[in-house]
């Protein structure tokens, strides 16, 4: 097939990968810290998109301030969810948090439908990025490139926090060995609450940032949730650099494969991930945790 088509597919893949990176980092962090498989992550992503709408319409502000405010609205909601539902069952088997977050996902999506309806909202790309740019003769929407750049910057920020700050050190300590970290005086429970909130904030930010690209509807987080799972599993649960690579592998496979073998590409992707998880439960790079 022609090279130009391949190029545009790749570009789309990179843009989507940048979004997956944001959502996957949150999923991976929360799992690494508390072994919580957060099925509500996609719903929180959607909530970010709706929070953006609410701020734009309610406060009458422009897109950019709303993009900063929307995640800040979602973080306290997520912290409240963690304290009331996940925190009380931490002593039970891991599978319960999976079931509870699945129920929470129902609740959030249901609440979204109740408040905002089931319709789809298309948002125009914000000023000053409404135009398209010429890349090798293709008219590509400028906002996509900007949004991908912002995603990458924020993700780099997350890595910096984890690697360079005292909080990041504690998070890495818990991911390595929760018992030892706690024995050394790290408050693992509050840290999980905090990280759960921040991960939800990242997801919400991704939802708001992607609103002008992917449109806003109640189920918008479902496919990105599954893709983030794939990314996180490929990279090894709890292994952040692995998740980052996984995000781009998933996004590029979907966009390039989708162009050539249509819907089969996703089938292949899920198959590969299932096989990877069975034979390398620690992820392809072998550094993650056994799920």
């Amino acid at each position: 097939m022609d090279l130009n088509f391949l190029f545009v597919s790749m570009l789309n893949g990179v843009v989507y990968g940048a979004f997956l990176l944001l959502t996957s980092l949150g999923l991976s962090l929360v799992f690494g810290l508390g072994r919580v498989v957060n099925f509500a992550h996609g719903a929180l992503y959607a909530l970010g998109g709706y929070a953006l709408l609410a701020v734009i319409r309610g406060a009458g502000v422009g897109y950019w301030p709303a993009l900063l405010l929307a995640p800040l609205l979602v973080v306290p909601i997520a912290i409240a969810i963690e304290r009331t539902t996940i925190h009380p069952i931490r002593h039970r088997s891991d599978i319960y948090t999976l079931l509870v977050t699945f129920g929470i996902s129902f609740v959030i999506i249901g609440a979204i439908e109740y408040v905002w309806g089931t319709g789809t909202t298309l948002l125009k790309p914000p000023q000053p990025f409404v135009s398209t740019v010429d890349i090798f003769g293709n008219q590509y929407p400028l906002y996509r490139l900007v949004a991908a750049g912002v995603s990458l910057l924020v993700s780099a920020g997350v890595f910096a926090v984890i690697q360079l700050t005292p909080v990041g050190l504690r998070i890495r300590a818990i991911t390595d060995d929760p018992g030892m970290a706690e024995a050394l005086g790290v408050n693992t429970k509050w840290l999980l609450t905090l990280v759960f909130g921040c991960a939800a904030g990242l997801a919400a930010f991704a939802g708001a940032l992607g609103a002008p690209i992917f449109a806003i509807h109640p189920e918008m987080g479902m496919s990105i949730l599954l893709d983030s799972f794939l990314a996180v599993i490929l990279g090894g649960l709890g292994n952040l650099p692995g998740s980052a690579i996984g995000a781009f592998v998933v996004a590029l496979t979907k966009s390039i494969g989708g162009g050539y073998i249509a819907d089969w590409s996703t089938a292949v992707l899920f198959g590969v991930v299932a096989i990877a998880l069975i034979f390398r439960p620690t992820g392809v790079f072998g550094r993650g945790r056994v799920a």
């Binding site: 509870v100 609740v107 249901g110 609440a111 599954l226 819907d263 089969w264 299932a274 069975i278």
Partner: protein
Amino acid sequence: MLFAAGAIALAALPYAGVPPFTITLLTEAFIFAIWAMSLDLLVGYTGLVTFGHAAAFGLGSYAAGYFAREVTADFFAALLVAEAIVVGLAVTIGFVVTRVSGVAFAIISLAIAQVLFQIAIAWRPVTEGMDGLVGVPLPKIAGFTIDAGAEFYLLTIATLVLVYLGLSRLVASSFGRTLQAIRTNEERAAAIGINVRLHKWIAFTVSWGVAGIGGTLMVFMKAGTTPMSLHWSESGNVLVMAIFGGVGTLFGPMIGAVAFVFLRDEFTTRFEAWQLAFGLVFVVVVLAFPSGLAGIFARAWRALWPTRS
């Protein structure tokens, strides 16, 4: 006795003036009940939570529906073909997925179900893609057509009763007790010489096989199916039914399936917020009543008649 009386009473409903719409809902609920019981064999009895049980149900639907439309509408022939395919795949998949348990099992089963979902979308010559399989004829038994409505309802009840009797035998057998030992403590079960993996493998296969029966009934009831029958949200729904009703018992998932179908009908016609309300109820059940509705009933029963054990 109580069970037989209950089954006969339920079977008499269409002839006792119950409106056809309620009979349709009941038929759907009882098909889901078969599916939810099959899930409970994994979740409640073996301790394997799966997020991909729609795979077995949907695959059964596709196999039976395609065969009935292309070859013959005979119910037992279609069931046999569906079972051969579902069980065949379950033996293969079960062999590999039973290597893991816990969260890994939940996610692998989800991924495998999504593979089938994507294949159902992509393999258009057979599955007709997103449009789904349509035009499945009414089933025939010994040459007689089973009409939609009361007759199909009776077929569903008969199947449900047989499945229930079979599964209650199974869980009470030494095999069933071994499964429960594995659920309670996998390491200890292995230490006393139980072949944990073999037992999980068999439980997985039986569970898929029973779900395939449900899928076969469903494709005849709806006269077709769509890829959504394989989607992970369906796997979530059946998990909700089983847990809502109470896992680890066979009655629990049945109650859960009936409650699910009727509550969904009630909520979607009266309120806007079916997902919101049901999600809240589900979260509360998981947090506060891990033994589900069945557990609540049992507790209430003991509170009312403390002397009966």
